[in-house]
Symmetry: C2
Amino acid sequence: MVKQDRAIRTRNNILQAAAKIFEERGYQAATISEILSAAGVTKGALYFHFGSKEQLALGVLHGQDQRFVIPHRVCKLQELADEVILHAYRLQTDPMVRAGVRLTMDQQAEGLDRSGPFLRWSEVCRERLEKAQAQGELLPHVIPAVTADVLVGTFAGIQSMSQAVSDYQDLRTRASDLLRHLFPSIAVPSVLANLDFTEARGESVYQEILHTPHPQPDAP
Amino acid sequence: MVKQDRAIRTRNNILQAAAKIFEERGYQAATISEILSAAGVTKGALYFHFGSKEQLALGVLHGQDQRFVIPHRVCKLQELADEVILHAYRLQTDPMVRAGVRLTMDQQAEGLDRSGPFLRWSEVCRERLEKAQAQGELLPHVIPAVTADVLVGTFAGIQSMSQAVSDYQDLRTRASDLLRHLFPSIAVPSVLANLDFTEARGESVYQEILHTPHPQPDAP
């Protein structure tokens, strides 16, 4: 068991170092030796966990997807809004999330399939929109798969613009502006009037998750 | 005069080559020697026009901004929609526009100020929105500067997602979906009902501009 813990710790160290180097240097320019020296592990240890630079990048991209589970809400559109708002908050505060997003947005990352995170996030949004639709929260013309893609694509751009103009300082404001522009085309008015898109919500959802007891694994 | 024409042609050659190399290799990895050999010009000729890699990149970014002038419309929100739709069309069809957008979205381009294109496009959108507001086309709560930023940021993401998942094949559909999601929060209903966001509009606006006689320069 101790051995396994150590392996998990080593793997995490390597991923943190890879995230740092990919963020600083870009996928194309980053080298495995830079990641090695940032992680402070042996070549053997690195190759035990990741066979190539691409696998390291996919590990970072996957780290970005390790989403915090949004607390259950009666209103599914609020759950969807919370997903966006929390992601904006984590982008501002978590280097691993930031590195994953930058890799996803790296249009020069040749040989790296960047479509995964777009498609996975779109799937998460589509599921929530379908539940919202079943509960009568959506306007009649909304097609969940189309709206899910619009949400994911637009958020990707908002974060990129925020990084370019303010190094993410204004991301919470921009995320809130985005939702205020999109949701009137999605939600029926009675639902819309009760949604919370305020800038402070990201941190409060984050705290709520941290203080919610996780389901315990099965007892032996 | 002939000499000046030749200089303009050389400058354009260099910019086309720089666009190609930046698009293929990314800003960080691209080198001036690669651009030199793609352009087929001498080092002296290149440095006559551009003093550094950064200046080359700024030239490409500026090339992206050389916007076709959207034909005058009575409805200013249609002009704004046409700007977005035409940009989507040109991204699909013009390598220089594509290279400029990729540089703008290159979150790894250290030392290159990528905020310029975001801010310039935002300014263009804000001006149109202010004219629309003066004509009573906007819903009362709309703040032109905020909505302009949302439009620019969201389009940036839509194009990036389109590139990642379909190499721009689905960009016109995505641009049209985007406008259909945003404009109901911007336009008064009577204006909204008359806006054209259809996918075919990009090419027809492009053709309209090509066949509009340009204002002639002053006669000598």
